[in-house]
């Protein structure tokens, strides 16, 4: 018997085109294999990871491989749409692009000329923020932001203010050297493939992985140790670890003295208007005690040896270093494991065990590299000594009303161990490190017909930088950068619709959104938002008069817009993953990337950024027209290659034109730049010299390299801000100092929560409801094989995650006598849902959870109306409000972090009861009419 002869050497397709994935925000490189179809046109045959790419190094997650089904999804919009029925009906007519853009211009032009703030332009999962913000700045509206405010701004802002960088896009564990990896509350999404690659490396080396998460799935399932923390208490756990380490003296004192502001002196005179601020010299440089002289010296003085425990007596007061304040606060027994264990939900012995592990790895197992380097004070170090403890966290710890301070606490833990920017610890990725002071401040000054006075978003240094009008009212529709949330660095997209509906702080005319599913999973209080979008005034006009929306797919939001600008799929468009934004750099290399149309659209759709170039020209926005008034950019590709942000600096850093040829980093625009990227695999990379690879914020070699490459224009060395002075400036205002004063109602909140040293306080919701009645915490996670709502129209991915039961821990399961197939009524202070339940034992005993955004509205995403996503799937969003319940003080407090305004999704508390089985998950919303036809009844995607 002989085996059949097989032809085993067939090529995959006709060509391989290398571009960047967009199935989530991870930005992996992909090889798209295309093959000519029967009509001779190229079609996508197969997608796999690009082996040369710095982010994913060849591997690809389930979403990435399923991109082919996203690209071919029946939910793709086909042409511009104009609403013909009432908002929310889904009734549209297809119109031409010329008609669509003429209409949009006729709405927007008068606004720009008279009241630019009446345009609110918010982009969701936007990877072109340096471009969309430029457009909004040119328009002159202060009302621009992306989705960070309801995602992870606490993590980003705490990182930038504390260390000049954050996790994920801006930082990474040193996977090659780390010996203990601590993963806090992360959903299984951001930095998808790099984290998995990293976990694989640690497993292969036998390094230890510790998961701190109420839910044990995914990464936490493979963790060597799992700490099922009670939601909202991560900060308490972290400060307890800090307590254990500090009382035992297990801190990196040399690192703290040299590279953090622990050695900076703080004004201790309670009568002073500068109480709690740094002692500064005439050049406003914070002062330390120089060990060599025992005298005051600037923090960055040449050769200065800062004394960690410095004190300085002046005018009858002993001014003390930040370290004294930390020592007083964190050695307090209130932080001892025994005193927090019950709240945290973890026995004291295990907290001590973790603290001891951290001490052991950091101080008994240092990583020492024989690489001499020179710090910014000119001191030569003959080796690089690292503390191989690394950390990652994202939305899990950040989406709480105590999230900013919790994220700060986590960074403080890393820093006292000496584990940031040292071998084995956390490392920054260019353009980071970059301190908060090197970022713009927020701008909001409106002049009709003129551009805004500067970038919208930034990092305030004190009350003077708030976005307030001359009357002291919020300048922005989302009330970002106000006393309610002064450091709202990413804006508050989740407040735009409710504020616009309330006309508070003012009414707007046009809401313009991109890739943001606000009438579904991207809003708290989904039902309420739908009502706001459709509400009419006494004249029968919509309270929010006009809504323009751009999306590639028939999402729930489409039905609520008046004009739809259909976007392309990610395989049909140009993009730049830019160093001006969130590039693809790694710790050892600066890198950026592109997307390009690897196939041609078969529908009448246009890339949103190209549409903005066109609209910008029609509106004569500065930067979008030539001197003669003609369009500056033919399309987004043209912009990518020719826009100059600063002299020599454009959206892409590779293959720029120099004096003698093409060069990296700085240079003149190159009209062939995108072709160079395409030829080189879709990305560009430049390696950081070995001497510059660690200690980057303090390392002269790195600083000089960064200037050469155009990341900075001058060296910007800085030290980590364990004590964040801008927070203290807001506290001082709340204490009555300064000319800009907060409303009295907010003074107490600001004094307590804007503490310049990390603190923990209970989630706000706990004080607005009865925690005994609402005794269960409710969370969501995003599955690794699904990204928000985007995955649900994907024929392959929805077979993996087509339903989302509420996972219930054993204690609650038994208490209510649940059985398989049962339903539960879940009630919060705001609303109620009835949903299917499933038992999960590997779960914090007081926590329930479900997968995020699997539930779908009937009629959306080209799914059949009886799709499980629409009949059994559900959103927790119905249970969450953007405001906390009234507590009898006559005020409504925001359900968000008081520092950044981040939506506090994960503060949610509920009560659970067994329910009879309804026909469908409750609430049921009426179906939307679909603007696209139904999909096929069977699929077999093969290009022949």
């Amino acid at each position: 018997m002989t085996d059949p002869v097989l032809d085993l050497s067939r090529p995959i397709g006709d060509a391989v085109r290398k571009t960047t994935c967009y199935m989530c925000a991870c930005r992996c490189g992909i090889d798209v294999h295309v093959k000519a179809g029967p009509d001779g046109k190229d079609r996508v045959a197969y997608i796999e990871g690009n082996r040369d790419h710095p982010v994913n190094k060849g591997v690809l997650c389930a979403k990435g491989s399923a991109g082919i089904m996203q690209h071919n999804a029946p939910a793709r919009l086909r042409a511009p749409l104009k609403r013909t029925g009432p908002r929310g009906s889904g009734a549209f007519e297809e119109i031409s692009w010329d008609e669509a853009l003429t209409l949009a211009t006729s709405w927007l032009k008068p606004l720009r000329d008279t009241a630019p703030e009446k345009l609110a332009f918010f982009t969701g999962r936007d990877q072109s923020q340096s471009f969309t913000s430029l457009w909004a700045q040119g328009f002159g509206t202060p009302n621009y932001a992306a989705h960070g405010g309801f995602c992870s701004v606490n993590m980003a802002a705490a990182g930038i203010y504390t260390m000049g960088g954050a996790f994920w896009e801006f930082g990474t564990p040193d996977w090659e050297h780390t010996k203990l990896f601590l993963l806090f509350g992360v959903a299984e999404d951001h930095d998808s493939n790099p984290i998995k690659i990293g976990i694989g490396k640690l497993k292969a080396r036998g390094a230890r992985i510790v998961g701190v998460n109420p839910i044990r799935t995914g990464y936490n399932a493979v963790a060597d140790d799992w700490f099922g923390v009670t939601p909202g208490n991560d900060g308490l756990l972290i400060l307890s670890l800090v307590h254990c380490l500090m009382t035992a003296g297990k801190i990196d004192t040399d690192y703290l003295a040299r590279f953090t502001n622990a050695s900076v002196l703080v004004n201790q005179d309670p009568k002073s208007a500068d109480y709690g601020l740094f002692i500064r010299d005439d050049e406003l440089r914070p002062q330390v005690i120089d060990q060599r002289t025992g005298k005051l010296a600037p923090w960055n003085g040449e050769g200065v040896e800062p004394q960690l425990t410095g004190t300085w007596r002046n005018a009858g007061y002993t001014h003390r270093s930040v370290f004294h304040l930390m020592a007083d606060r964190y050695t307090d027994p209130v932080h001892a494991p025994e005193n927090v264990a019950t709240r945290v939900g973890i026995p004291a012995a295990r907290i001590r065990q973790l603290a001891a592990d951290l001490a052991d790895v950091a101080f008994n197992q240092p990583v020492v590299l024989d690489r001499p380097w020179t710090d910014f004070r000119g001191k030569r170090h003959d080796r690089m000594i690292g503390r191989p403890v690394s950390v990652h966290a994202m939305r899990g710890i950040s989406a709480h009303s105590n999230g900013f301070q919790t994220c700060r606490a986590l960074h403080m833990l890393q820093i006292i161990l000496g584990a940031v920017e040292t071998p084995g610890g956390m490392r920054f990725k260019p353009p980071y490190p970059k301190p908060a002071t090197a970022h713009p401040k927020p701008h909001s000054k409106v002049v009709p017909g003129q551009p805004l006075d500067g970038p919208h978003l930034g990092y305030p240094q004190g009350p003077d930088d708030l976005c307030l009008t001359e009357q002291g009212t919020p300048a922005r529709i989302d009330k970002a950068f106000t006393w309610e949330n002064p450091l709202s660095a990413h804006g508050l997209m989740h407040m735009v619709i409710s504020n616009a509906h309330a006309g508070d702080p003012y009414k707007i005319d046009t809401l313009f959104m991109y890739m943001a599913n606000m009438s579904w999973n991207s809003s708290m209080n989904t039902r309420g938002v739908i009502d706001m979008l459709t509400d009419t005034d006494e004249d029968g006009d919509y309270v929010i008069p006009r809504i323009i929306y751009s999306d590639a797919y028939s999402s729930e939001m489409v039905a609520y817009a008046d004009l739809i600008l259909p976007d392309t799929t990610y395989l049909e468009r140009h993009d730049c993953i830019s160093l001006l934004d969130r590039p693809i750099s790694e710790a050892d290399a600066m890198a950026d990337a592109i997307r390009w149309p690897v196939v041609t659209p078969d529908r009448d759709v246009r890339a949103f950024q190209s549409v903005l170039c066109d609209l910008g020209a029609r509106l004569s926005l500065p930067g979008f027209v030539n001197e003669d008034g003609t369009a500056r950019y033919a399309d987004y590709a043209d912009y990518i290659m020719h826009h100059l942000r600063r002299p020599g600096i454009g959206p892409l850093a590779g293959w720029r034109v120099g004096d003698t040829g093409l060069q990296d980093g700085r240079g003149l625009p190159n009209g062939n730049q995108l072709n160079e990227y395409i030829t080189h695999g879709g990305f560009w990379t430049s390696h950081i010299p070995d001497e510059a690879a660690y200690f980057k914020p303090f390392n002269r070699a790195y600083q000089d390299w960064a200037v050469t490459m155009g990341l900075y224009d001058v060296p910007l060395p800085y030290i980590f801000q364990l004590y964040v002075e801008p927070l203290r400036r807001f506290q001082l205002a709340a204490e009555g100092h300064g000319h800009r004063q907060p409303p009295d109602a907010l003074r107490g909140q600001i004094r307590v929560t804007l503490d310049p040293l990390p603190i923990w306080y209970p989630p706000f919701e706990d004080a607005h409801i009865d925690p005994a009645e609402y005794d269960v915490h409710a969370l969501t996670q995003r599955p690794m094989a699904m990204y928000h709502s985007w995955g649900s129209q994907n024929a392959w991915l929805r077979q993996i995650h087509g339903v989302n039961p509420l996972y219930v821990p054993t204690k609650i399961w038994k208490k209510h006598g649940f059985r398989e197939g049962d339903w539960a009524r879940v009630t919060s202070a705001h609303g109620s849902i009835t949903v299917p339940v499933a038992l999960q034992e590997s779960l914090n005993e007081n926590t329930v959870w479900t997968w995020n955004a699997i539930g779908k509205r009937k009629g959306a995403w080209a799914l059949d109306t009886d799709a499980p996503e629409a009949t059994r799937g559900f959103l927790l969003n119905h249970l969450i409000h953007e405001l906390l319940p009234p507590k009898g003080d006559g005020l409504r407090w925001a359900n968000s972090d008081p520092v950044t305004g981040q939506a506090a999704w994960f503060d949610l508390r509920v009560k659970i009861e067994k329910s009879g089985a309804p026909q469908e998950s409750q609430p049921v919303l009426p179906p939307l009419a679909s603007p696209v036809p139904k999909g096929p009844n069977s699929l077999a995607w093969k290009i022949r």
Binding site: N56, A62, W226, F323, D328, T331, K942
Partner: protein, 256 residues
């Protein structure tokens, strides 16, 4: 009935590390994508792909199980499962047409779709549930070990590995010759105590699984070793500063 060939010297297969698998389903979808475009057989179809009960053919699926140890918290294990390319493959011997066969050269178990009558006996005989009937094509589908990748001269040499292995982000999947005791994956099996799935079935699977390492270290044993690391040096902030000043002054270059 179909005969098995004599055992081959080369036994190509997979080693799957249950300690490392995070359950991300990357392998599931890469497999689906590859074998849908493959010319080796008909595409893997999906029925009702946008409807109430979507159901498609997959050659590899990931299951998750909870395991509750006598002490300590409940654990979760992700368990990817595909054809194990058994040496004594009951799916082959049960096949009435010879469509199901095991290659004599490398031990890969395949289905010759031209000869498959879609009777489903092989799926019934497989104790692992590793075969799926494709309703559109009416033929039996199973893992091919990407035989059209691993010998494919049109691919770069580094890519001549199964799609699931190439894509696995955590590196939990390994491919190689389990007939060669010196191969890297045979060594991995030896070092990590790799095991057969359901050995009592007598199928002699070629694929092996590496067990999860122990989880959730008990505090009782460790705290004695670790406790000295946390021995307090001071009772309060003042004490800590004083301790630090004493300690630092003793170091070379100290300022005491």
């Amino acid at each position: 009935m179909t005969r098995l060939p004599p055992p081959s010297a080369v036994k190509l297969g997979l080693v799957i590390d249950l300690d490392t698998c995070v359950g991300c389903h990357a392998c599931v979808v890469a497999c689906k994508g590859w074998n849908t475009q493959s010319d080796l057989g008909t595409p893997l179809s999906d029925q009702n792909p946008y409807g109430a009960d979507p159901s498609g053919t997959f050659l590899n699926r990931v299951h998750s199980y909870e395991v509750t140890p006598p002490a300590g918290p409940t654990q979760q294990v992700h368990f990817p499962k595909s054809c194990l390319h058994c040496e004594d493959a009951p799916c082959v011997t049960v096949c009435p047409t010879g469509a199901s066969y095991k290659r004599g050269s490398d031990g890969i178990v395949l289905v010759n779709e031209d000869a498959c009558i879609g009777c489903g006996l092989c799926a019934w005989a497989c104790p692992y549930g590793a075969r799926e009937m494709d309703p559109s094509a009416g033929v039996m589908k199973k893992c091919t070990l990407c035989v059209d990748r691993i010998y494919n001269d049109a691919l770069p040499e580094v890519d001549r590995t199964p799609a699931c292995v190439r894509t696995c982000p955590a590196g939990a999947r390994h491919f190689g010759d389990l007939g060669d005791p010196d191969s890297a994956i045979s060594q991995l099996v030896t070092d990590r105590g790799g095991f057969d799935l359901m050995p009592e079935q007598g199928t002699k699977p070629v694929n092996k699984y590496l067990p999860p390492r122990p989880r959730d270290r008990d505090t009782a044993g460790d705290i004695d070793i670790l406790a000295p690391l946390l021995a307090p040096v001071a009772a309060d902030g003042k004490g800590l500063v004083a301790w630090l000043d004493r300690t630092l002054s003793k170091l070379p270059g100290g300022h005491g």
